[in-house]
């Protein structure tokens, strides 16, 4: 498989996943605000923090209110992390390699961007925001499903899976980082009942609430949710699971040693983390460490497989 083709597959999967994750995050945050009393509302600024786009946001908008944040994250062409930009990037990556993927998948990717852009064009405020976001999530999952069901699970598919899994790990770690800290205000003042709601929303941001209930025999609370999102081996958006996915792809490729080493280090860090004693500040530091390793892993994959040069 050509490096260029593998790279496009990798990025296509990342962008599809990013669009889906962002849509889910916005949607769940909307629901959360409705569930919280006015004095405990976390507002919309945390989403800017999660997506790491505060400087750009401040340049483009005055206040981090609902209207602005939602516009920025969904349809703002100037925001490289917006849903619409992610979908367009996914489409552009797919377009240059469309002959190697099943026709239906290409049509779905192209159509997903088309309908998303069309609706934004009609009304910036999106009166049916919830439905719109749901259609993005469904559309993205249809792409994933079509590719899983109609594309040969060859080397190219492995790059797609790696892109998707790395993007998932990234989003899960970002959500943990922000939600566990800045987002949840001081827990005093009789707000305790709402803590559960907030942690539930963290799970829901990652589509994890139901699976948590099925597999974790504990009430919804900080330690167990973190434990689940970081260490669960079976939940598809848990960091540990995603790392396993990436490793399973790498073992089929040559020259994988350095990348696999990084995964091993990440895995060990995740399993060694003692969440009972990990205070917020140290949790952030821990997640930052994971993020750095994710960056290294991406660089290693890109270096090894996408930027092939003359043999020594």
């Amino acid at each position: 498989m050509l490096s260029r083709v593998a790279e496009h597959l990798y990025w296509m999967a990342r962008y599809i996943e990013r669009a889906e994750n962002t849509a889910r995050m916005v949607r769940v945050n909307g629901h959360l605000q409705l569930d919280l009393p006015a004095r405990a509302r976390t507002g919309w600024e945390p989403l800017i923090a999660i997506t790491d786009s505060a400087p750009l946001f401040r340049k483009l908008y005055r206040t981090p209110g609902e209207k602005n944040v939602v516009a920025f994250l969904i349809g703002d062409d100037r925001n490289p992390g917006s849903i619409i930009r992610s979908l367009r990037n996914a489409r552009e990556n797919a377009r240059t390699i469309r002959e190697i993927m099943p026709r239906e998948a290409w049509e779905q990717i192209s159509g997903l961007y088309g309908s998303a852009a069309h609706q934004i064009g009609k009304d910036e405020l999106l009166p049916d925001r919830d439905q719109y976001l749901q259609s993005i999530i469904h559309g993205a999952q249809t792409v994933t499903g079509l590719l899983a069901g109609t594309m040969s699970h060859d080397v190219g598919y492995d790059f797609l899976r790696m892109g998707r899994s790395l993007e998932r790990t990234d989003m899960t770690s970002r959500i943990i980082n922000v939600r566990s800290a800045d987002l949840l205000p001081d827990q005093g003042g009789g707000l305790r009942p709402f803590e559960t709601i907030q942690w539930m929303s963290v799970l829901k941001s990652l589509s994890g609430y139901q699976m948590y209930r099925q597999h974790v025999d504990q009430s919804v609370g900080r330690i167990h949710v973190l434990e689940f999102l970081l260490k669960d081996e079976d939940f598809p958006r848990a960091v540990f699971h995603c790392l396993g996915e990436i490793e399973a792809c790498l073992v089929r490729l040559p020259r994988k040693k350095k990348a696999v080493d990084i995964i091993m280090r990440m895995r060990k860090a995740v399993s060694d983390a003692d969440l009972e004693t990990l205070e917020q500040r140290n949790l952030n530091r821990f997640i930052d460490g994971l993020q750095v390793m994710m960056g290294n892993l991406h660089d290693r994959i890109a270096e090894t497989y996408f930027r092939v040069s003359a043999p020594a």
């Binding site: 026709r103 080397v155 092939v308």
Partner: protein, 486 residues
């Protein structure tokens, strides 16, 4: 009963299916009779079935559109009535094409070596001196088997009396063959019954013949050469074809950035398994964009160092750089002389009579007859920059006269031919529409010619412009063997 051949207007022009008076030509008889038994609805159904097949097969061509801010893929316009040519007629054409390409390859090889044809004064030195497609970088190079133009697409037309003429030879990166293949697939879906009753020569073996040819011209040292198709990318109008042929041959479809040349002048492609050697490149990029080191330094489509590798013989480029020297409308005029010079034969397929404006007598004739002739620039393709005298305004003709006088080497004049027609579906009845034909000739260890080729049809009434970007479509082309029991 919608098609009545007796009422079909086939006078004053050679129609390939219907003789004057509405009599079906022998090879087209069965087809014509079948068609005339179809009801309006049945015809519409076939047409719809063909459109659907084209859509589901994803047969498209790319048009650049400024308005839509990019390129768009359009469905390939296809007419369901095939063009029928009897095999015994075609055999002669095929022989003529083999002869022609053989002479062209000898000419190109001679031009980049001793230039005997120039020294013997058969081919004028100043035509060569002003050739835009002569590449000094190619002088002295010996491509494997002495073949330069591995893939040639010659455009043929038939005049009023049915005689085939060569209109031009495309020796750089001729395109269209994928449409020829897809047209046949569509026809098999739409009219399966007809294929049972006719002996129609197959075209589907093109991709395997192409691969055989590419392998046969690989550098000598390689046992199992890696063959790739080099495309400028998705925005090229023929990208569909590049992808199609790569897929049919099981070859990688690469872009310039996928390849690199190492210090030992070897070509590699970047794959997830590492760098892999490449020995044969079927390139669909023009010479000047092939290698920024040797040609246009601005080119991002090509591969730096590719010419070094080619000259050293570690890789074969198909077609060879510089092959376009014979793809020039002034050079074209000398092909009959080349055939005589190199092969000591008369040209089997004639050229369209051509007046070379560089010669005083010819120039005077062209200038005096601008209202009757077609004037073409020597180095353009795709019908660009032409003057169609009878249809041009006085102003256009005067402006052309000035251009010819300023740079006579760059222009030729040809009489206006009445291109042959083939019945073409218009709603649910048929009307004659003008066609041309582009067969493809492959030259490697062996020479093979497609059975027929791509028939392009001007869908606009009276028009002779067959280009798909300008209202042209295409038809399946049947070479029919009547000697069999079909």
């Amino acid at each position: 009963m919608t098609i009545r051949w007796r009422e079909y207007p086939a006078a004053g022009v050679y129609d390939e299916l219907v003789a004057p008076g509405g009599r079906l030509r022998a090879a087209a008889k069965m087809l014509g009779q079948r068609l005339s038994k179809l009801s309006d609805d049945a015809i519409r159904q076939r047409k719809a079935a063909a459109d659907l097949a084209i859509q589901t097969m994803g047969i498209t061509f790319t048009v650049y559109s400024q308005k839509q801010g990019g390129s768009i893929d359009r469905a390939w316009p296809f007419d369901i009535i095939p063009r029928v040519i009897p095999k015994r007629e075609w055999d002669r054409v095929e022989e003529g094409l083999r002869q022609r390409v053989k002479a062209l390859n000898l000419f190109i090889d001679d031009i980049y070596h001793q230039q005997k044809i120039v020294k013997d004064k058969v081919f004028p030195a100043d035509v060569l001196a002003k050739s835009r497609n002569f590449r000094p970088q190619c002088v002295g190079i010996d491509p494997p088997l002495g073949v330069w133009a591995h893939i040639c697409g010659s455009d043929l037309v038939r005049d009023k009396d049915g005689t085939f003429y060569v209109l031009e030879d495309n020796l750089r990166v001729p395109s269209g063959v994928s449409y020829m293949l897809e047209n046949r697939q569509v026809m098999k879906r739409v009219f399966p019954g007809l294929f049972e009753n006719y002996n129609i020569l197959p075209v589907d073996d093109y991709a395997s013949q192409l691969l055989d040819m590419l392998v046969s011209v690989a550098p000598k040292t390689t046992k199992r050469p890696e063959v790739v198709v080099l495309t400028p990318g998705i925005y090229n109008s023929a990208y569909f074809e590049h992808a199609y042929l790569a897929q049919q041959m099981g070859a990688e479809l690469v872009q310039g950035s996928d390849l690199f040349v190492d210090k030992k002048d070897r070509v590699f492609m970047r794959t997830v398994r590492g760098a892999e050697r490449v020995q044969v490149i079927y390139r669909r990029i023009d010479d000047l964009f092939l290698d920024p080191e040797a040609f246009n330094p601005e080119s991002t489509l090509g591969v730096p160092g590719l010419m070094r590798a080619w000259k050293k013989g570690t890789v074969t480029l198909v077609n060879a750089p510089g092959a376009g020297v014979a793809d020039d409308k002034v050079v074209y005029a000398y092909v009959p002389q080349m055939i005589r010079y190199y092969l000591d034969q008369d040209a089997i397929i004639p050229n369209v009579p051509t007046f070379r404006c560089m010669e005083a007598g010819d120039r005077a004739h062209v200038l005096a007859n601008l209202d009757k002739l077609v004037v073409k620039p020597a180095n353009e393709s795709g019908g660009y920059g032409m003057l169609i005298g009878p249809q041009a305004s006085k102003k256009e003709r005067e402006s052309f006269a000035r251009k010819i006088k300023a740079d006579p080497r760059e222009y030729i004049g040809q009489p206006m031919l009445t291109l042959s027609t083939v019945p073409t579906l218009v709603d649910s009845h048929v009307e004659p529409r003008h066609v041309d034909l582009r067969p493809f000739i492959l030259s490697g260890r062996e020479v093979s010619v497609t059975a027929g080729g791509l028939t392009r049809v001007a869908l606009v009434k009276g028009s002779t412009v067959v280009n798909s970007s300008q209202g042209g479509g295409s038809k399946d082309t049947w070479i029919v063997d009547e000697t069999g029991d079909g």
